[in-house]
């Protein structure tokens, strides 16, 4: 901010926009919830929530859809951050959905719990009566997201219909819904991966250690490096070796690829992201590679 010229940097402009969105949701919807995974986008989302309502508390709980296949470092970070804030975290567990017979665990070496999360999320939304869920998704992440509204209206099955999205004009958001329907709200829609990292650096936010370079046993598959963990079966010929890696996203251990890196400080990470030649999802997410439209398909089913 510069008082003489009244100019706001692009990060502060994006932050201001995100705060505006959060306050609109708090005012217009009955029971919002903030989806907090412990990943960098939701860390930023949480900070924006703190800012929007200070010195009050933000008027919504936090929800984590826990696949049970998370990196332990992420869960440790998640619990510590929540304890510091003194906030309530609801954990919706994919394992519980499996145990209850709501979903069926995939099997085989490429099994992932990613798709199963949708059922667990929708069940939790119904159970708690949430009508709005904040997510940290950004439009630069993926081509279907590029077309999604900030207020993404979902029917009573949680489904997204890209052909009938509500027009979204100026900064006027329409949060009207009928009982049973919900909105997914993406206050960071206009942020890029680099913006998120620059913001984390400017704000001095803590992030899980796996975002920084560390040595880890990994194996190569489909051109990506995956962590050796109890959640993946190796295919014949795959060999575990140790190298210095870091993560660009923190999804499941089973389907999130690591990047070889020696960036072990925030500065080095920001520099690496600024220079990267590969997209975040392309480099790290096996789930998006399945078909050309896999994200669009999962969103239509009710995914984040």
């Amino acid at each position: 901010m510069s008082a003489a010229t009244y100019e706001l940097s692009h990060l502060r402009t994006l932050e201001s926009e995100a705060i505006h969105v959060m306050r609109e949701v708090a005012a217009e919807l009955e029971r919002p919830v903030l989806l907090f995974s412990g990943g960098k986008d939701s860390i930023v989302l949480l900070r924006v929530a703190e800012k929007a309502f200070k010195p009050g508390r933000f008027p919504f709980p936090l929800l984590h859809v826990d696949t049970g296949h998370n990196f332990p470092e992420t869960i440790e970070f998640r619990d510590r951050r929540i304890a510091e804030l003194g906030e309530r975290l609801i954990v919706a567990s994919v394992q519980d959905s499996i145990d209850a017979g709501r979903v069926i665990e995939e099997t085989g070496p490429r099994a992932s719990r990613n798709r199963l999360q949708t059922t667990t999320l929708l069940d939790a939304i119904t159970e708690h009566g949430f009508d709005a869920a904040f997510g940290g998704a950004r439009r630069d992440e993926e081509r279907a997201r590029a077309k999604e509204r900030v207020f993404s209206f979902r029917d009573d099955f949680g489904q997204w219909d890209p052909r009938s999205q509500r027009p979204e004009l100026w900064n006027l958001y329409n949060g009207r819904i009928r009982k049973g329907e919900q909105v997914r709200v993406f206050p960071l829609s206009n942020w890029t991966e680099l913006d998120v990292w620059q913001y984390i650096a400017e704000e001095g936010l803590e992030v899980p250690s796996i975002y920084f370079a560390h040595r880890r046993p990994v194996f190569a598959r489909d051109g990506m490096l995956y962590a050796a963990s109890p959640f993946v079966e190796l295919i014949e010929g795959e060999e575990v070796f140790e190298t210095s890696v870091r993560y660009r996203t923190v999804g499941d251990m089973s389907c999130t690829g690591a990047v070889e890196s020696t960036a072990d400080t925030l500065e080095a990470v920001v520099a690496e992201i600024a220079a990267t030649r590969i997209t975040e999802r392309g480099e790290t997410r096996a789930d998006d590679r399945v078909t050309e439209a896999s994200m669009e398909d999962r969103k239509r089913e009710g995914y984040f």
Partner: protein, 430 residues
């Protein structure tokens, strides 16, 4: 090692943000242009490019079709058209950009209005071989209706007209003649070839007669800071912060985003519609107390006196107040299948306040072909634009849209379906 990993010096303070929208008729080269801007400014990642190469080959395009970079939804890929607004992001060392990529056809007017509503600058594409078409005029008209201060006309496919200066000048003249009827404060023409990259990022040697900047150069330098209204302070209260903790027992903060002007601590303010007056006790943000707040900062105001202020109230200063109105004349872009007719009732959302509105009279409809107002219209159909008079169930504190895009705009919401059915720009109020 789950700390912030040591102290970090702030990353280079990036420059400001420019939002621009692109419009063009189908096949004018809009996707190619955006692909080119992203590609030449090195914002295309290797995996995206590889994907485009593979898809181009599979489709038998014969060249790397950069237009494929911007195809979003399956239906769009299948039909080879753009249906909905897509947002793209790129940055140069000078600026960070948000592109709203909007479809051009008249059946998608509502999408163009949506994408352009927040734009600082509008790019209109014209095919050099076709010249100024009805569509181009419509795009310029919508840009002026939305009060986008900067319009850039890119005359594309110059390679197909031998990079001929006369062709370019003829199109610019035709366009200027039409634009004279519109309010476009800043109009720029650039001859380009999106396919070859001429005058997109670098100036082209193939058009030595053109002395202006490349498109990117222009986007990086166009002056937008003075487009904001810094003279008329406005903040619509979104949320009242009342922590009700021991520490903040009597705290009341009015949270909102500054929609115009500059507020300073100690300023005398008026709260509308009630008209109560007081002073600003403090301007607060998470990061501490601020001396001033200006557009578009999200802040919290504390007032000196205990007033009854709630969501939807407008805080402003005594000598430059908006109009408190129960009747509005507005230009409306209609976005629903069921038409707007006189007598219909809707929910109106203006800043953070909602009210009910009844359409008293439809003054005129704009003919999509001639762009002239046609009086005596009985309805506005999907994608129509027209002028209507609305009566409100409770007063709103409004400005003319030409004075302030944030406090001069509203949406209409259908009370049965909850859909956003209309976008309104206030012409006058009383």
């Amino acid at each position: 090692m789950a700390a912030t990993n040591g102290s970090v010096s702030a990353p280079p303070r990036m420059a400001d943000l420019l939002r621009f929208a692109t419009a063009g008729s189908v096949d004018d080269g809009k996707s190619t242009l955006i692909g080119r801007l992203l590609f030449d400014s090195k914002q295309i990642f290797d995996d995206q490019l590889e994907h485009v190469q593979q898809t181009s080959e599979r489709r038998g395009d014969g060249y790397v079709n950069l237009a494929l970079l911007t195809d979003g939804l399956r239906a769009e890929r299948e039909q080879g058209i753009t249906i909905d607004v897509a947002y793209r992001y790129f940055a140069t060392p000078r600026r960070r950009f948000i592109i709203a990529d909007t479809p051009g056809h008249e059946q998608y007017t509502r999408n163009m209005v949506t994408g352009s509503s927040t734009a600082d600058l509008q790019v209109v594409l014209i095919d050099a071989r076709k010249g100024v078409l009805e569509q181009s005029k419509r795009h310029a008209y919508i840009a002026s209706l939305l009060r986008i201060p900067h319009l850039v006309v890119c005359v594309n496919k110059m390679d197909l007209v031998d990079n001929d200066e006369a062709v370019f000048e003829k199109i610019a003249d035709d366009f200027r003649a039409f634009a004279a009827k519109l309010e476009i404060p800043d109009l720029t023409f650039i001859p380009i070839s999106a396919l070859l990259g001429d005058n997109v990022v670098e100036r082209s040697l193939r058009m030595p007669w053109y002395e202006g900047p490349s498109l990117l150069h222009h986007l990086e330098r166009v002056h937008i800071a003075s487009d904001r209204d810094l003279a008329h302070p406005r903040l619509a209260v979104q949320w009242v912060i009342r922590p009700m903790t021991e520490e903040h027992a009597d705290y009341r903060g009015y949270a909102g985003q500054v929609a115009g002007g500059v507020f300073s601590g100690g300023d005398e303010v008026v709260v509308l519609p009630s008209g109560q007056r007081t002073r600003i006790a403090a301007i607060e943000s998470y990061d501490g107390e601020l001396e001033q707040a200006f557009v578009p900062m999200s802040v919290t105001l504390r007032l000196e006196d205990q007033l009854d202020v709630s969501r939807g109230d407008m805080i402003c200063v005594p000598d430059s107040m908006p109009i408190v109105a129960r009747e509005l004349e507005a230009d409306i872009c209609w976005m629903a299948d069921a038409p707007l007719r006189a007598g219909a009732r809707y929910t109106i959302k203006h800043t953070s306040r909602t009210a009910r509105a009844v359409v008293e009279e439809l003054r005129h409809r704009i003919d999509v072909h001639t762009l002239e107002p046609v009086p005596g219209a009985s309805e506005l159909g999907l994608n129509d634009i027209g002028r209507a008079r609305l009566r409100l169930s409770s007063p709103l504190a409004v400005d003319a849209y030409s004075d302030n895009r944030a406090t001069g705009s509203f949406v209409l919401i259908d009370e049965a379906s909850n859909d956003t059915v209309g976008a309104g720009m206030i012409a006058s109020a009383g």
